[in-house]
């Protein structure tokens, strides 16, 4: 029951296709991997299929009438597709959902305890203390109702809650959403220190591509449900196409005409 990180705790998504309602294709033919001790980011605009992929990995597409119709998801060598969502958490995969989604009526401590639902009570108490030492700010607020915390504190609770189950794969869905730049910096520092501290694999989904690439080791760029680029974070950061269309940097001075953008998109569609 105690989720101990297996030696080869890596996630492989191979040729995944996700359909909503049996017809709407949200993810098409996507493959990527996350290895232990690394941060891998999925980048892309709204509707690119990033959150859908995380839901597919966590096994919670069901309530939204979605399903993984093709491809496979394996973790530490075992398939996840047949498991229920609680079975997947017990395997050591946990997700920090988009928008934090705390249990707003519960206290901070109760939120954290919920994160350790799958571990034994003794283990839960140990984990609780380690989360408080990772986020000392939370210690003073432990008996406050979570819904009344600031956005940054809520994000800390959300990450701490996920860490309560000692995951070997942590998935973060837009941790920077709606937070002040200074707070985002703190959160990202915490994420990269998590990677440095042990054999946890981190899958980071972000719209803020530049920020995500600065702490990631590898990145995949998704567009309309497909992977259009992938590479080392440094390569992606340096690539002119990525810089232009995802990071908003422009080498040539002056405004680009929409025609160039359209041309690029058409070309890329053929490449994908």
């Amino acid at each position: 029951m105690l989720s101990q990180a297996p030696l080869n705790a890596d996630l492989h998504v191979v040729n995944a296709q996700v359909l909503y309602d049996g017809v709407v294709e949200a993810v098409r033919d996507v493959s990527f991997s996350v290895d232990a001790g690394r941060i891998v980011c999925l980048l892309g605009a709204n509707g690119a299929g990033k959150s859908t992929l995380l839901k597919a990995i966590s096994g919670i597409l069901g309530p939204e009438k979605g399903a993984l119709t093709k491809g496979s998801i394996t973790f530490a060598g075992k398939g996840l597709t047949a498991l229920s969502s609680d079975g997947i958490v017990r395997k050591g995969i946990v997700q920090v959902p988009e928008g934090r989604r705390l249990f707003v009526n519960l206290t901070v401590e109760e939120n954290l305890l919920m994160g350790g639902f799958t571990v034994r009570a003794a283990e839960r108490a140990v984990r609780l203390e380690s989360v408080y030492s990772l986020f000392p700010d939370l210690t003073d607020h432990r008996h406050r109702v979570a819904g009344y915390l600031s956005g940054g504190q809520q994000q800390m609770v959300a990450i701490g809650r996920a860490l309560m189950s000692s995951p070997s794969l942590l998935m973060l869905d837009e941790p920077s959403l709606g937070l002040a730049p200074k707070i985002v910096e703190q959160i990202f520092a915490a994420i990269s220190s998590l990677r440095d501290s042990g054999d946890i694999a981190i899958l980071l989904v972000e719209q803020n591509a530049r920020l995500a690439l600065t702490i990631s080791d590898y990145g995949y760029v998704l567009e309309r449900g497909r992977v259009v680029f992938d590479g080392d974070a440094a390569t992606l950061l340096g690539s002119p196409e990525i810089q232009e269309f995802y990071l908003g940097l422009d080498q040539s001075a002056g405004r680009k005409s929409l025609r160039d953008v359209k041309h690029y998109r058409r070309r890329k569609r053929w490449l994908a």
């Binding site: 609680d86 997947i88 958490v89 946990v94 959902p97 009526n105 109760e110 819904g147």
Partner: protein, 290 residues
């Protein structure tokens, strides 16, 4: 004055029964947003089961208690397996309709097995009433109130300190995230239905001991429903308190106005209260950060 006090005490005793049933409504509503309209029928069914056990065992108290627990677990598991689980992922309203169907079925089955005549519960000793400040109390009524208090404390502690209880409150706020934390929602529903059936069963046996056992036990469920609404349908302890309020108000209306008003007094109270507090007295208003 002593007339008033007597009315209040009798009201509390009835209200404790309402309160227990209302707690059952609230527990199920809290985790699954389903209003279980078969609550009164479940209470009646477990009441009849323990009546049969009492009849055959010479009203042995431990065996009757055991039959309530076993009955509640059995009924809770059966309902979860054959009614709740097949309906997972379907609209909540469909499941509410299923509970109405379940109510009709239980009433019919109970009528077939035990008949439609009320019986005296074996061993329900009507001991000499105790008099305190001019109020006459039956020992069983005091026992009932003690059980009510114990159940309130027990359920409060369960929801506050037990991880499964905390998970119930968490699921009430966000069931998808509950799944992400590794909570098996179907297991949680099972626990909720069993607890709810257990409290209803205890209420049923106590009611049967004070009055009688008969098909009209099912109506108590409908009378307890306003209590749950009054306290806030998602607040378990609020619903329990709502039961006491409805019980007392009913009795005062019956005693001072006319007994015909007893039935409607509770509903008048919820009309007024809901206009002031639409979530009920203790219902959870959603927290919104602005």
């Amino acid at each position: 004055m002593s007339y008033f006090l007597n009315l209040v005490f009798a009201g509390l005793a009835v209200g404790a029964i309402y309160g227990m049933l209302a707690m059952g409504y609230a527990i199920i509503y809290k985790v699954s947003r389903v209003v279980n309209f078969a609550q009164g029928e479940i209470m009646m069914l477990i009441g009849y089961i323990s009546y049969s056990v009492a009849l055959r065992t010479d009203a042995s108290a431990p065996l009757v208690m055991l039959s309530v627990i076993a009955g509640a677990i059995g009924v809770g598991l059966l309902i979860e397996r054959f009614i709740v689980r097949p309906m997972l992922g379907q609209p909540v309203f469909s499941l509410v309709m299923m509970t109405i169907a379940l109510a009709v079925m239980i009433r019919a089955v109970v009528g077939l097995i035990w008949g439609l005549d009320p019986y005296r519960f074996p061993g329900s000793a009507t001991g000499a009433p105790i008099e305190l400040f001019g109020v006459y109390m039956q020992p069983i009524q005091l026992f009932l109130l003690a059980v009510y208090v114990a159940l309130c404390v027990g359920v409060w502690a369960f929801l506050r300190f037990n991880i499964v209880g905390i998970a119930m409150r968490a699921t009430a706020t966000d069931s998808t995230v509950s799944l992400l934390m590794g909570v098996s929602v179907s297991r949680l529903y099972r626990v909720a239905w069993i607890i709810s059936a257990l409290i209803a069963g205890i209420a049923g046996v106590l009611f049967a001991n004070i009055y009688h056992i008969g098909p009209d036990l099912a109506h108590v469920g409908i009378r307890a429903f306003p209590a749950a609404i009054l306290g806030g349908l998602d607040s378990v302890l609020g619903s329990a308190l709502g039961g006491l309020i409805i019980g007392v108000v009913e009795n005062l209306a019956g005693g001072y106005i006319a007994s015909a008003y007893k039935e409607i007094a509770g509903f008048v109270v919820i009309l007024v209260i809901l206009m002031i507090r639409p979530y009920g007295l203790f219902g959870q208003k959603d927290i919104e950060r602005v």
